[in-house]
């Protein structure tokens, strides 16, 4: 096969791997958005904290990797519940703006706490995945990436089934529509919220652990979450399948832009392209690719 074509395919494949990471991060955002209408700006910090926690579990406490991942998930879940209980529950019924601002405050708080607790050094995760990459017909995929893709896929399927068919999933969707009516249906909105924050934080923990495997762990890790914003919006803010498709699209677009546009236009187009694409998509579809158009009823 000619090298030009292989280059393209390889860009797309690594774009998919990157996209899965974005998708995973985006799902964490979308879960909370969907159920409570809140954009959680502290999501990036949770991702970063999880990476640190997993790192220290493995290096300082010599916990086996899989157990460490499990523990990180549990800690993140607990953090979610605590966050909901202490910070967001008192805000029930307050303007959404103020609640979003509280999450910004939380992000500032968590970031500096991470600095205090874990230091400011650049840390490198002793990756449990073999560095030997898998080669399939000339296409290279690292084992870490395979794991990222698989777990994103599994998580997506689990969420889809959960929201479509389970009693609790239905309750969550109902709560997303009308909190007060959900209360009247006998749904414990408090429980729903606690659960949703826990699940979202666990998803963030998963993306944190994976990021730790591909990036240097430091306080800057939280910024990656901003890179997932275009994915969320492309997906239409409240749709989980949308977030996943959005994530993949952004991953691929970013890599293709890096591979082709960077040479032509020059200078870091790779990072800007997702945002330009996002802007253009919104011009044509103001509710993202998968978002529902709200019907104006007066």
């Amino acid at each position: 096969m000619n090298t030009e074509f292989m280059f393209f395919i390889q860009l797309v494949v690594s774009g998919i791997a990157l996209g899965c990471l974005y998708a995973l991060i985006a799902v964490g955002f979308v879960l909370i958005l969907k159920a409570t209408g809140i954009m959680n700006f502290a999501q990036g910090e949770v991702i970063m904290l999880s990476a640190f926690i997993c790192y220290f579990l493995v290096t300082t406490f010599h916990v086996p990797f899989l157990v460490a991942v499990l523990l990180t998930g549990i800690i993140a879940g607990l953090m979610g519940i605590v966050t909901e209980r202490l910070i967001l529950r008192p805000m029930l019924g307050e303007p959404i703006f103020s609640v979003v601002m509280v999450t910004i405050g939380l992000s500032i708080f968590l970031r500096s706490m991470a600095g205090i607790l874990f230091g400011h050094n650049n840390l490198v995760f002793p990756s449990p995945f073999p560095t030997e990459a898998v080669k399939m017909g000339g296409i290279v995929v690292s084992q870490t990436e395979i794991w990222i893709m698989l777990s994103s896929l599994v998580l997506a399927a689990v969420f889809f089934i959960f929201f479509k068919y389970s009693r609790m999933g239905l309750a969550m969707r109902g709560t997303a529509d009308h909190q007060d009516v959900a209360l009247l249906m006998g749904i414990s909105v408090k429980q729903v919220f606690a659960l949703i924050w826990a699940v979202s934080f666990i998803t963030a923990a998963a993306s944190g652990v994976f990021l730790a495997n591909v990036m240097v762990i430091n306080l800057g890790l939280s910024v990656v979450a901003i890179g997932a914003f275009p994915a969320i919006v492309l997906g239409g803010l409240e749709s989980i399948p949308g977030a996943i498709v959005g994530g993949l699209a952004i991953g691929i677009i970013e890599n293709l832009a890096g591979g082709y546009l960077d040479q032509i236009i020059g200078g870091g187009v790779k990072d800007v392209t997702p945002f330009v694409v996002l802007f253009l998509v919104l011009m044509i579809r103001p509710y993202g690719l998968f978002g529902k158009k709200e019907i104006e009823r007066v």
Binding site: T3, F7, Q10, L11, S14, G15, A17, L18, L21, R111, S112, G115, G119, H120, N121, N122, V124, T131, A133, V140, S142, L211, V214, M215, V216, N218, L219, G220, V223, V224, G227, E254, N255, L256, A257, G258, G259, D262, Q263, G266, G267, G268, V269, K270, D271
Partner: protein, 400 residues
Amino acid sequence: MEFKKMKTVLTITALICLLVSPAFAERGVTEDTIKVGLILVKTGPVAALGLPDGHGMVDYMKYLNDQGGVHGRKVQVIWEDDEFQAPKSVAALKKLIHRDKVLCLITTGGSNQTIANMKTINKYKISNIPNALMQEFFDPYQPYIFAMGATYECQYQCIVDYIFGDMKADKPRIGVLYAKKEYGKIGLKAIRERAKAYGVDLVSELVLPTGAVDASSQVLTLQKNKVDYVITCDVLPPVISFLKTAEKYSYKPKAVFGFNWATDDMIVKACGKGAENYIGVNFVGGWNDDSPGMKLVRQIAKTNGREVKDIGLTSLYIHGIGASYLFGEAFKRVGKDLNPDSLKAAFETFKDFDTGGIFPPLTYTDKSHAPPEMVKLFKADVPNNRLVSITGWRTPKKMD
């Protein structure tokens, strides 16, 4: 009620900070102390660079005090955090001058913070050693800025020289990865021009951003373009990302180069075998060098209970100690009559001043505060998890 309480507390604290501002006749110098400021990022993502640097500065001053101080005076360091933001840096300098009334600053932090403070520095005669390496700081002559460390241009010229000179590369295919920052852009330009002087054009010029999740597209492009010498103009984390990604795609250029902010043992610890072909330049000695200066550095770290893994980036810790070392020497040379002018004059008596291998020998005159344009090259020593120097101090070759 609560609010009232909070208000009272706040008012009281405000009054305290207003009133507890001591006034001295001579700024920052008394019979037994010298007050020295330090503006360097302590918190946030960039703190990985600021903290070891600042710790080095503080630790050396402590060492100096333990030795009995300078002419009977102890040095007191006040470290202000600017969060790597210019407005905060400007505020910090105002506070240090007007509240704390410091004599000088060891450093004003990054380039853009230093430039924002330039006017105040000149007005209040604040001697300092910025830790960014820009030509603007000494060309034209800035009376109170003492530049230390080879400029980015010089560093990259030395790298290109090394490719053509020491590695004897014939028609090398050179690719550059750069960050869209000061150092990245200057570096790119310097490399491009230097390579041109050797009669070679750059094959690829790619951006590798600081927070890059992965470097796949960059690695693939370099691989496709058959680049065999990669020069990075990036700080540590992205360089590490790059080396790891390159390893994944089994992309093995003959050498990968990095400049001083990415030349640290950390890179070998992080990438292991992936860093095999890494070569870095720096204007500070290596942690394991056998020079008297580096012995002192290791000793200071030990007395302060700092182990290598707590320090983080050791090269920056060394830089910090070096900067304080220069100030200590200047204080000594002034003698008893210490003030902003005499301090500047003392700095200007440095002639081929030897720091014992921490910095290259340096000279300041009343016409030029230019840094010594000298660097060492370091190569990865994978089994021992560190970088080892492969050259002595060298300057860019004269081209004609």
